[in-house]
């Protein structure tokens, strides 16, 4: 399936990516080539085949992940904010939303 520049722009918007002119030009044909390769999956009849849940083993599915509702320590505000680009008054500050 051909992927044109407007498709690329739409996907970039969904992915929160600002693409430059050069990327807009190269990504289209490259993605079209990969999608075309992926379409070989259509050779297979998968009617009635359950989608895989994600490589999970039967043993993992049987593992009980519940635990006691106990308080354990977490990072805390100071450490959690220490790596933030713009912390302010105990919060993550961002540019205006609207």
């Amino acid at each position: 399936m051909p992927i044109d520049q407007s498709d690329i722009e739409k996907v970039a918007h969904l992915a929160h990516l600002e693409l430059g002119e050069a990327e807009l030009k190269t990504f289209g044909p490259q993605m079209a080539q990969i999608v075309n390769y992926v379409e070989q999956l259509n050779e297979l009849d998968t009617a009635g085949v359950e989608p895989a849940l994600g490589g999970l083993t039967p043993e993992c599915e049987r593992t009980d992940s519940s635990r006691n509702d106990e308080l354990i320590s977490s990072l805390g505000q100071q450490i959690a904010l220490a790596e933030a680009p713009d912390p302010a008054g105990g919060h993550f500050r961002v540019p205006k939303v609207l």
Binding site: I3, D7, I8, V11, A12, L14, A15, H16, L17, E18, L19, G20, E23, F27, Q30, M31, Q33, I34, V35, Y37, V38, Q40, L41, N42, L44, T46, V49, E50, P51, A52, G54, G55, L56, T57, P58, E59, C60, R62, T63, D64, S65, R67, L75, I79, A80, A82, E83, A84, P85, D86, F92, V94, P95, K96, V97, L98
Partner: protein
Amino acid sequence: MSLQTVEFSLAAAEKLNETLNAFLEIDREGASQRAAEIEKSGNAGQLAGIPIAVKDNICVRGLQASCGSKILGDYHPPYNATVIERLTNAGAVVIGKTNCDEFAMGSSNENSAFGPVRNPWDTTRVSGGSSGGSAAAVAAGIVPVALGSDTGGSVRQPASLCGVIGLKPTYGRTSRYGLVAFASSLDQIGILAREAEDVARFLGVIAGRDRFDSTTAGVPVPDYTAALTGDIKGARLGFPRALFGKGLDDEVRRSVESVVDVYRELGAEIVDVALPHAGYAIAVYYVIATAEASSNLARFDGVRYGFRAEDARELRQMYQKTRAEGFGPEVKRRIMLGTYVLSAGYYDAYYRKAQQVRTLIKNDFLKAFESCDAIVTPTSPTPAFGIGEKVDDPLAMYLNDIYTVTANLAGVPGISMPCGLSSERLPIGFQLLGPYWSEPALLRLAHGYEQARPFTERPPVSAS
């Protein structure tokens, strides 16, 4: 003793890094201090004083975790990954963080924002990837063991290209807590080493259930070193003949076929097996891995950690600029592809279809393992290729993973072992794939081969 070993590794890392670019950070001060403490306290932990290198997408408290990306800026995680917690409790000493493809996306290490790792066997060639720095560090003798992560072959393929051992455990065998997520249903932390015994010892320490990773399974952790008996008589080894055809380098094919002969001589029974859907694995992988990546990498938005682009006037523009400036081209390409296959109107055609074929691939393995204990394949279709050779053709690059991705899709364990050098003196590796939780059997087979045909060659760029 531990101090001396750690000092040797630190000095080798510092000396060889200019040539190899295998380390993004070397922790001279911290590692020396920990080694001295261990020596003083007489710590009898089972890994006491063993220097290790850790891929830069696994969190080590106090050290950087760039994931080979600019978007994480100068990020220093405030916590340890579970595997690091367990290794340091056993006395292992982290000497540094290793270079990798950005967010583990790549097969050559050329996608690192900090330059490619160079192969110690030939510095004009790639190390493989994405755990290329870890593979090169082990191959050059800087450390005996390193950690990597394997989403589609990222431990096994660089191990093969650098002439070391690489293990990807069963999905859920090792905790992913503290591993920066690429594709959560495929990612697994693995081990690179020069000896099967080291792989067994380290796996015994890092494996097992972790309350911080609900996908770890409550399967008991055996003593893996006990499996290294040297006796492989009667083992049934599956040979998938159809995978030894088109696209496989002649020297690699001959080398791996001779591995089969060695196993036969050692008393293994060779049985023909088929993996009829293996040819679809790359197509399935690049739908599922990119879809999961597009979701996992949404967290890198310039708000909570890492890099933020300047001069954005409003929030959405800040996200877009931060991600545009912070991510490299391959990561952007995969986020785009993943977003595309998940977007309205395409989900069923691509994502659901890929998940269905994933089931078929998994069923192929379950069926094959009814008649054999392990399957032998090449690890990589070719030895190490030249730096820059494949960078302009993403699809050709993806096909490097043709033998390794099936294990991630099915969740089964795999190990790559060195089995000789090409005519150009480049390492060749073979891969053993086994049923779920069959790490003891894989290690027994790997160790049996290692005893029969020890790989004693050393690369030209080497610590000793």
